[in-house]
């Protein structure tokens, strides 16, 4: 796990206490501090990564991960329009859930991505694989993220990958959710390009994929 700076630790602490005001203060201080060259997202993203990893290792709950990502999304809302980098603004990320109506994972990934400056396009939930392919192509997505809770849904990721291939698309598909955690080999079997173990992983993976595409 990456060692956090003092400020990042304070931010994590405020998130765990669900203290939105303190989070806002810490980021506001970040913006006004004269000797500070750190961008606010350099506080937020590592903090969310740290929280995601703490969830993976059983130290905190999903509700804390969710609340943290929502608070981050909220406090970053006012900062992001002027601070988003062109790359983050221009990368077209699309996210959806197939054959499943459990949408919390998708919501958490969206919050994490927004906190990092991205503007993910929500394609919805309960979609058939072919509907997700169609929507991703329509939206001209650069990267497609799929959140799954049920095994029956995770298996259909393969249909999405095949559907994209048939359409001549090379959009990378990133998956995440319980079936991939409980059955670690599954994501490769579906033909997905990457798997995230928690919602904050999405930011890392997207940055990596975008870096490779450049």
């Amino acid at each position: 796990m990456q060692e956090l700076t003092r400020k990042q630790k304070l931010f994590v602490q405020a998130l765990m206490q669900l203290d939105t005001s303190r989070c806002r203060e810490l980021l506001a201080g970040q913006q006004t501090s004269e000797d500070c060259s750190t961008h606010p997202e350099e506080i937020v993203v590592p903090a969310l990564e740290n929280i995601g990893q703490a969830w993976e290792t059983g130290h905190i709950s999903l509700s804390q991960v969710y609340m943290s990502s929502r608070i981050c999304e909220k406090v970053m809302e006012k900062i992001l329009p002027q601070d988003s980098t062109p790359q983050e603004s221009s990368t077209r990320l699309a996210i959806g859930v197939i054959e499943d109506y459990h949408a919390l994972g998708k919501r958490m990934v969206i919050s994490s991505l927004r906190s990092a400056g991205y503007k993910p396009i929500d394609l919805g939930h309960g979609l058939k694989a072919e509907e997700l392919v169609e929507k991703a192509l329509q939206e001209k997505a650069d990267i497609l993220l799929i959140s799954c809770l049920m095994l029956a849904s995770a298996i259909h990721v393969k249909d999405v990958v095949e559907g994209l291939n048939r359409a001549g698309s090379q959009i990378p598909v990133v998956v995440g959710g319980a079936p991939f955690r409980l059955y670690p080999a599954l994501w490769k079997e579906t033909g997905a390009h990457a798997v995230g173990n928690n919602s904050a992983d999405a930011v890392k993976i997207v940055r990596d994929l975008v870096g490779r595409q450049l």
Partner: protein
């Protein structure tokens, strides 16, 4: 001496060693395939479920039966809908609580008048008429603390806990009254015990603060009003950090997650709380018969000595795609290696 399933479970749950480790293959959807029906058709008639449960007992020797079709029955009962899939369990459709203020006028379903719940009760009583006291039937009730995930969606529920604790308290009380009525109706229809489905109680899902403040107090209140024994099922969720809370709430057994060390969990629960689990159903379809046998032996070695253990999957529902030959391998291995006394353990440990 060979015991009936009821005797076997009673011994095991009382932390004594029965004739063999009780085993339940919770393949609730599999009989549909056997009977040439879609999942939706299968669950549409109580008679199908009764026949299906009897088939599971004949095929796998299940020591406990269960007529509860799927969690989304709660959505139907509360006026919502279930969305069916060909290869998996139905999901809940649109939330019945669309905005927090809806809680102010929320009315719980009356169990005795609700078609979906009455059909489930009919299945229990018909199955009970066939199996008598030899094979226990488990009832299922979703906890007041977890039910809002289906009533309003998980995201809206978490926001409610954070933003509107006043409405949350009201919702939990409405749900508690419903949960008690529903559980007691199942016991009256012939269920021997109640599985209290509470994934939100797991510290992997809700923060310890919220579990203690809302989940544990709801559980205590409900258990004290249910006319039978109650086990908690965390639906794959981890439970080791909250063993004491589970015992304190009054549960007699808990599910064991595939994501935690069953041996460690056994040490924490020994003599106080029986364990049910923890085969990883999500990987079963990729098992060979040898893998199945190895997984069964490992679980028995970790949790069966001294009783207090029922072999089952970790989620309480085996995915529809898992092949029957693997499930047969699991039940065969449970019979072969689950005979008490577990003399083979000394060699296994070496």
């Amino acid at each position: 001496m060979t015991m009936t399933s009821a005797e076997r479970l009673q011994h095991a749950l009382a932390h004594k060693e029965p004739d063999r480790v009780p085993c339940v293959i919770a393949a609730a959807m599999h009989p549909a395939r056997d009977m040439g029906l879609s999942i939706k058709e299968y669950f549409s008639r109580p008679e199908n479920i009764v026949e299906g449960q009897l088939r599971l007992h004949r095929k796998f020797g299940n020591d406990m039966l269960c007529c509860y079709p799927f969690a989304a029955i709660e959505c139907i009962a509360w006026g919502g809908e279930a969305i069916y899939f060909d290869q998996g369990p139905p999901n809940c459709g649109a939330p019945v609580i669309k905005k927090p203020e809806d809680i102010l006028s929320l009315e719980p379903p009356r169990v005795s008048e609700n078609a979906a719940l009455k059909a489930n009760l009919k299945a229990i009583s018909e199955l009970k008429a066939v199996v008598g006291d030899d094979i226990p039937i488990s009832g299922v009730a979703v906890s007041p603390f977890s039910l809002p995930i289906m009533q309003m969606g998980f995201e809206a529920y978490l926001d409610l806990i954070f933003e509107r604790p006043d409405l949350l308290e009201r919702l939990l009380q409405i749900n508690a009254d419903y949960c008690v009525e529903w559980a007691n109706a199942q016991l009256k229809a012939g269920a021997s015990a109640v599985m209290y489905s509470d994934p939100a109680f797991s510290p992997g899902i809700m923060s310890r603060d919220w579990v203690q403040k809302y989940g544990a107090s709801a559980a205590k209140q409900v258990i004290s009003r249910i006319n039978g024994s109650v086990m908690i099922h965390l639906a794959s969720g981890r439970g080791l950090p909250i063993v004491d809370e589970i015992i304190h709430a009054g549960f007699f057994a808990m599910s064991a997650s595939a994501e935690e060390d069953l041996g460690e969990l056994k040490r924490a629960c020994k003599g106080r709380l029986a364990l049910v689990g923890n085969l990883n159903a999500l990987v079963m379809n990729h098992w060979t018969e040898k893998d199945a046998e190895a997984a069964v032996k490992k679980a028995i070695a970790q949790a069966a000595p001294g009783g207090g253990f029922v072999l089952m999957d970790n989620h309480g529902e085996i995915p529809f795609i898992v092949r029957e030959d693997i499930l047969l391998a699991v039940s065969d291995a449970a019979r072969r290696w689950g005979q008490y006394p577990l003399n083979w353990l000394s060699d296994y440990e070496q």
